[in-house]
Amino acid sequence: MFRKQVLTDKNIEDMKNNALDSRSSFLKRTIHNLKSNKPALIGGMVLLALIVIGFAAPLLAPHDPLEVETSNRLLSPSLQYPLGTDHMGRCILSRLMYATRTSLITALIILAGNLAIGIPLGLIAGYVGGKIDNLIMRVADIALTFPSSLILLAVIGIFGTNVIYMILVLTFLWWAPYARILRSLVIKLKEQDFVMAAEAAGRSKTYIAFKHIGLCSISPVIVLATLKISSIIMHVASYSFIGIGTQAPNADWGVMLSESREFIFTRPILIAWPAIVIVIVVLCLNIFGEGLKDALLPNTRMNANSSYKGD
């Protein structure tokens, strides 16, 4: 409600010029800017590697992640099982690979849903204004402040446990930041000379919305999405850990952690593996996101941590 106004006229001009003067080399320049930022570059590369491993898990994984072999319980690392096996004799490396896949896909679905809801609503709110704007922003306030865990608990209590409910709840709750940023961009842009010129030249509102506003909003939306996806990943992992997200025996970081819990005395390494992978992914995402922010929006302050990331 009292968030700092992050967009100034100068920023918007910058974004517009950035996007316009070299539309074809937008990607190239971003990469160039990122190259000078070593930590962001490393973070981005590690992330890319993990994404490839995750999506290629069915090809790369040495074993079936669900294959239970009770005679092979809690084996130490060997050639056959590079990271050893868990309490049910399943290959830990394969499970980790599939967990990366599950978590990334779940997070991407949620993010895509957030964007699909938030962007159009933000555009409408900003463009149409008045009562509709007011309504959309009040709903956004509610969506932002309501703890997702409460709604998820209720939905699961009523309909039963299924990962679909977690995806739906997070999709319908976390679109608000994108709506807010689009709305404030549109409101600022409406006053800008080039938009007024386009309007005077007889361009339709849809054309203006797509072309000019689209160009200016690419950078902030990309940055915000990168910063937000780490918080989606952490929530998904913690919901799966308590048993209201991805369900066992499917491989997921949270599921793996909760299954290994009882082995903290005897086999702490079982907990360490999924924990290490989550931390690496989230850390790389945050470092890369910060780097992306510096590269794309050098003079803007944006904070993905405007809400608590616990339960």
């Binding site: 409600m1 009292f2 700092k4 106004q5 009040r138 306030d141 509610i142 402040t145 309501f146 703890p147 865990s149 409460l150 709604i151 608990l153 209720a154 939905v155 699961i156 209590g157 009523i158 780490s230 952490m234 992992a237 913690s238 850990f241 308590i242 048993g243 209201i244 952690l257 819990r261 903290i264 005395f265 702490p268 907990i271 924990a275 989550i278 931390v279 989230v282 850390l283 995402l285 945050n286 470092i287 910060e290 302050r301 904070n303 941590n305 405007s306 809400s307 608590y308 990331k309 616990g310 339960d311």
Partner: protein
């Protein structure tokens, strides 16, 4: 917008939120009505047959239209009567009231830790801006915000409870054992506060009134702590308050990992046991606390910050 209008608008805004929360909780109670009838019959020492179930359903008003059931449910809910737990057959409210002090203690200690750490490291970072301590604090705070709290919980449990034996593994909810879970919860929060306060403090140290403070002979430290700090912490007040709301809702993961017998762990266990009356009561109580707390903080804030722009 005048302050008074803002307060009225903000109070009106909580009505839809409370309504949503009540619908969710009522949905749960509606989903569990079959089991409620059964447990009432059994508590009277009768056998659940179709006839007795029908009789009890009529007696409890479960055969009436849904909206009438909603209002009679609401009447009970306002009096905090949520029925008995399926598991223990004790009134749900008593069970929650018994555990709430533990959650309250954890929330208060966590908030205190996170504010102290946040302010301390922000000051240190600004004092040594651009020098090694600043770099270290920035790296550590990025990392701190990237570690999910349940991963941190396992790490601390492993290091401080299992290896060093500073704390018992099972906390037993004793007040002196609050340190480990509070530390776990406060680290990601401190990391966020450090970054926010640091950025605000850097802006403030360039402002005219700090220059005046220096000119009148205050040392850098005195100027920062006496004049700068208050204004740098102010923008974080709403965030700290809203995080306190999340903490009062009880952290499922942390309370469960440290066997801290608060409402978070209670709900975690109830989800596993499908104890719907508990989940129902939890949703209503926690969302009401959360919504009211946020309301109070927003109202206090507009009186704290004279520069605020009300939207």
């Amino acid at each position: 917008m005048s302050k008074k209008r803002f307060v009225i608008k903000r109070i009106l805004q909580i009505i839809p939120m409370l309504f949503i929360a009540s619908i969710l909780a009522f949905g749960l109670s509606h989903a569990s009505r079959g089991e409620v009838a059964n447990s009432v019959i059994r508590s009277r020492g009768m056998q659940p047959t179709p006839e007795t179930i029908e009789a009890v359903r009529e007696e409890l008003g479960l055969d009436k239209p849904v909206h009438i059931q909603y209002f009679s449910w609401l009447k009970d809910a306002v009096r905090l009567d949520f029925g008995n737990s399926f598991l223990t057959d004790e009134p749900v409210m008593e069970e929650i009231a018994q555990r709430f002090p533990n959650t309250l203690l954890l929330a208060v200690v966590t908030t205190a830790f996170s504010i102290i750490f946040g302010i301390f490291f922000a000051i240190l970072s600004v004092k040594y801006k651009g020098r090694p301590p600043d770099h270290i604090i920035r790296v550590v705070s990025t990392a701190g915000a990237s570690i999910p709290d349940f991963v941190l919980a396992f790490l601390f449990l492993f290091i401080f409870a299992i290896n060093l034996k500073f704390f018992p593994v099972i906390s037993g909810s004793l007040p002196q054992n609050v340190i480990l879970p509070a530390l776990t919860l406060s680290i990601p929060l401190s990391a966020i506060y450090t970054r926010l306060i640091r950025n605000d403090l850097i802006d403030i140290m360039d402002s005219d009134y700090i220059k005046t403070a220096r000119a009148k002979g205050l040392s850098e430290n005195q100027a920062m702590i006496r004049h700068g700090l208050k204004n740098a912490v102010l923008p974080s007040v709403t965030l700290i308050g809203s995080n306190l709301g999340f903490l009062l809702a009880g952290s499922f993961t942390i309370e469960s990992i440290f066997s801290w017998n608060g409402i978070g762990k209670f709900v975690f266990d109830s989800v596993k046991a499908k104890d719907l009356p508990v989940i129902q009561a939890f949703i209503i109580i926690v969302s009401a606390t959360f919504i009211l707390l946020n309301l109070i903080i927003d109202i206090i804030y507009i009186y704290l910050d004279p520069k605020i722009k009300l939207t």
